[in-house]
Symmetry: D3
């Protein structure tokens, strides 16, 4: 399974059912990219999160397969839980319960194969907690080993690192995400970047915040201004985006290796 010249066989759905059935074993890892189709400011495409999740997952699966892991990439779940951007025309969002049920059923189907492990590579911060919830459903109901991670290298939100002056709040269409899309799909990024929109007052709070702070709060993206941006896209560039992308791929590939050897307890 370590032949890097056969990436096509890494696609679950490229195979026929019997061929997949023959290929899968208890060691197989099913990887499902999960994205979103949502407003990302006036400069990034609506499919930013689906694009990043799919690109990172594809590259990481390819790399992991090349290193001998028995990984399989499933079709991307493009539509996500984007209720925080429901107000913005173009956003196409699912209720959390609908997305959760869809993913539970995808897990249920995977559980009927020999594969015992499923991994969700996620491009959208708004999906993170749903995926954490999902992991436990799949473990309890179907006995799967289920993992979720962001397509970036970080542990929260979309996992993409921002600029220091984003104050840890470059979580949506900011420096990092803009840079990554510039790298992956430069033609889809508008040259007119919107201005910095960092909720500085929140950044200065001790407890309340977006990630890594101990008090979570409900918000929709129009709570912070009309552009829907949270962060600072100015100065974003493809070179930085490439670096972030590579870091994300390395992280996911490395995590897949860790998952391969994972045992509870």
């Amino acid at each position: 399974m370590s032949d890097p010249s056969a990436p096509a066989t890494r696609s679950w759905a490229d195979l026929s059912g019997p061929a997949l059935d023959a290929a899968l074993s208890e060691r197989s890892i099913a990887v499902v990219p999960v994205g979103a189709i949502e407003h990302h400011g006036p400069h990034l495409p609506l499919r930013t999160d689906a694009l990043i999740a799919e690109a990172v997952a594809f590259a990481a699966v390819t790399r992991a397969a090349a290193s001998g892991l028995d990984v399989w990439l499933l079709p991307t779940v493009s539509y996500g839980k984007s209720d925080e951007h429901y107000w913005a025309p173009g956003t196409v969002w699912l209720e959390g319960t609908t997305l959760l049920e869809q993913l539970v059923e995808i897990g249920r189907s995977i559980a009927l194969t020999r594969a015992r492990t499923v991994v969700f590579v996620n491009g959208h911060g708004g999906n993170v907690m749903l995926l954490g919830w999902l992991n436990r459903e799949l473990r309890r109901r179907f006995g799967l080993r289920s993992f979720s991670m962001s397509a970036g290298a970080g542990g929260a939100g979309d996992g993409l690192e921002g600029r220091p002056d984003e104050l840890g709040q470059g979580i949506h269409a900011g420096f990092a995400e803009t840079s990554v899309v510039m790298h992956l799909a430069p033609g889809l990024v508008s040259p007119d970047l919107p201005p910095r929109n960092v909720p500085e007052r929140i950044a200065g709070l001790r407890h309340i915040g977006f990630n890594a702070k101990p008090v979570m709060f409900g918000w929709t993206s129009d709570d912070f201004g009309p552009t829907g941006v949270i962060g600072d896209p100015t100065g974003a560039n493809a070179a930085h985006g490439r670096e972030l992308f590579e870091r994300g791929v390395a992280f996911v590939a490395d995590a897949l290796a860790e998952i391969d050897g994972f045992v509870y307890g």
Copy 2:
């Protein structure tokens, strides 16, 4: 809107929210491909239906846009209602109610834009009745004009025409579908085609049947044999597949034109 050199702008999710918002009008048509990831015999890839729906929809939207229609392609809904193949490892299926709710919510988001029309281009026979139901939900709840059609040229099932000796029952992984995949993705078709599997007794019935017969019946694909094929893939070829594909694209493009001018009553 008739500039054929700008196909990228035909992708809903390639645009930013504000750019899409500016581009859409009451005349805009949102096109959503709907597929399935399901067992298609030992010779066709699991993503056959998603592949065909997406390929036909993309080509038809491109053609329709070139002829001046204001059409927009949304990301494919890859996972479908494949409960008839639930028994076959590799099938990844959603409960009908989950898929219906997902599509209702996609329609709800579209209804919040200026676009008033949505079209589902479907690659999977098992989705057909759900989409008919869906059209009415979107009409009643959100006032949308909602249409569904098969990615093939016919009116039932996946709409792909079979061989005469399939007796109108080449509905799954048979001559037509195999030919189309040979055209679209030859590398994904196994050269070892499974034998003909046509439920001849059913073909000889007067009332009960798969399509176009007046009595519908519940079945799962293993009711007709172990391969899951219903039809006869032998003799399938890319040339015929190309012809069917082109016919499907022409049909969908032509239907989009009809939809563009559609008025009730």
Copy 3:
């Protein structure tokens, strides 16, 4: 079981539980009429669809029993999926999901008897796709053989044949349906028939249409005018209604015979 003088024993619910249990065998066929209570123009009763479904099912079961089939008639499900007439006072409609769940549970109960076959005889076009979906649920979940058919002789909508100048669109309260109610319940038909209301423009379309055309579309009956009629009731008469009714009964009875001998594959 071929004694035509005992039609009462053809009623599932006329028997006691133990008597029914003793009478049923693996060959038994449970028949469930499904109707609707909905606006049918200013001239037909709201229960038109329930009336026709029940009358046809009763007569067909009686005839089938007389010819030796082990058929059983269950109480009519009167309220249907009439969301297309939600706007018209008097319509009493169920959400599709509620009707589907009700019918799944009816099937579940039937599956706990010795009978392995269930047949839905349907009087309402708006139920057709739901019943097709239902058949598969009952097959997959409970292993039943499940069939659905229209109470008329046709294959789509309510299955009643219209007049040629209805252009295939006499689907609701038109020539055929009005004639059948004139035959079955002449006292319930208003002598003041509403005028012809045929969506001629749609009839002229190549792809989009009500039945037998390849593009389905969402509509509510007020999309075509204030009467809710789709078709042409003028000239309807009981004699023609009788002929249509007899044809429907013959069709259902014949279909029941086919079902009796049905084997998959």
Copy 4:
């Protein structure tokens, strides 16, 4: 509206939508019989509860209309919440949530007419609490005045009075119910009546019991023996049944009059 020679106009669904719309006023009362299709011992038909509910409701509506009330009879909801008899072949039962949702939707449709009052005439003890719950849903959500009552004269269970030696526990297929069916449908009652089956120990309890006792308890009918009877059908006779039936009709008709004049507060 007090012409007793026109009972047909008392049927909601016999009228066309516009005719009904013209006939209804704020004083109109919509009456919905609710039954069950469930095991009633070896001697009574499965449709006992639907039969009684419909017969009583029809007679009471006729009588009430004759006395000048603006009452309307809707089609019977035949299938009820019979989970206590789920174990007995022939029972066709709905989950409580499914029945509740169906009745809420029926109420919703009624609320879209001029009628402001709905009455559920119930033939099945197992529906009682669901209907009490339902009344409040219809009041709060749609502003309806909603009432429920048993088709018998009593206040609990199916409301039919039993024999003294049934110890207040003749609640299912016992003396009263058997007598009523002997009156209404003598041909459907088996001459071989099952023996008395009264849970005497429970009758002797101070707190726990079926009706009118302060502690409710969960049971299924097989908890009390294999026949599913709770009570004593021996000695049941049509004459007594007629008396009970007349009492039930008088009760419902009288209650309808009270409802007609009902004001809150």
Copy 5:
């Protein structure tokens, strides 16, 4: 288990899982208080029903344990089905379906222990029918013996006896309930008692009424006036409240003894 000096061990959730597991047997009875947080006029606290349910259940369990019963008190379900008071700020209510599902899941967990019996001690009239429904769910689905009763001594509503001139309608924040809260939590009762608010016209009706009358009706508490009181709190006093409370405790304790010895049939 009859040591009255160890009341703490009567609390299910005070024990560790293994300690509880060791303590439970087939004879164990799990008691769940169910209340409501809802408007109780201008003089009683919102948590009146939760307060009474918990206080009665605690005292009754203590007494029952002292007499040798193996009873266990679970944490109170404070939020109930208070849709009749939805209009009053401060009411915190659950949809009936949400509360039912919650209680079914609580029963499901109890069914996974050795205990086979669950008892719901209820402080809120609006929960009564839901609990009756619940009992059957727990019996059918999990084989539990499930009982429900009011925390007062009566059999309907909240079971607290009123004053004669409340005409059997002192069902909410009237003489009895006000007295009990004066006894249990005098500091929470406003000295300014609202005036008598008894729907006298309804009291005079023959069929329609709140409890013990044969016709149930839907109402919200603002149907009877702006205070939300139904009854007459004037003259309420702690001495009477104490008597009622003691009567309620005695009733529940006695009922628990009956439950301990309960056998079906």
Copy 6:
């Protein structure tokens, strides 16, 4: 509102509806403790999480009120999302969807008062992601400002700090939680503490882990050994528990102050 001598008025449900209505303003903050009833090893009570959430919330609300905040404490939601302990007798758990819906409905009721802010103080790590999801529902659907935080001082899981040799994995019934219960309810802690049970291999992983690590994974507590403990309770003591408790109270009180002044953007 800053009179510390009136803590009783800090209880939402101790007041009558009208009194609460008069007391609430747009500045009011509704605080809802959320716990769990679940296995916490052989030494801690099942209600550990509910106990801590309630105790911390009560103390913090009292302190915040004393400093002039307009905070109100609602009744504790005792039963939580404990699916990871479903296997252990005594655990009483709710499906996530049931708990989420319950909390959404609690928020809906709060939104009908003048209060615009709701805070969930959580004692159970398994509720964390559900509460994050909930915050957004309440923001989007009802316009509330919604916050959630752990009853401990940390940002993840139950927020209680462990011992260094727990390697960041003392997340359930370990050193911190055991110490806090020793402080709050010493009589409920078994003197026989179970041995250390730290999944050291997981601690050594780079990506996968319980909190603060970038890869989340599905687990149930029996995945790590038979005691259900994850951490090391040995050495736990009330003095440390008191310190942790005070830190938690200070954290929540401080967070409430921050919430009081919170503005978006």
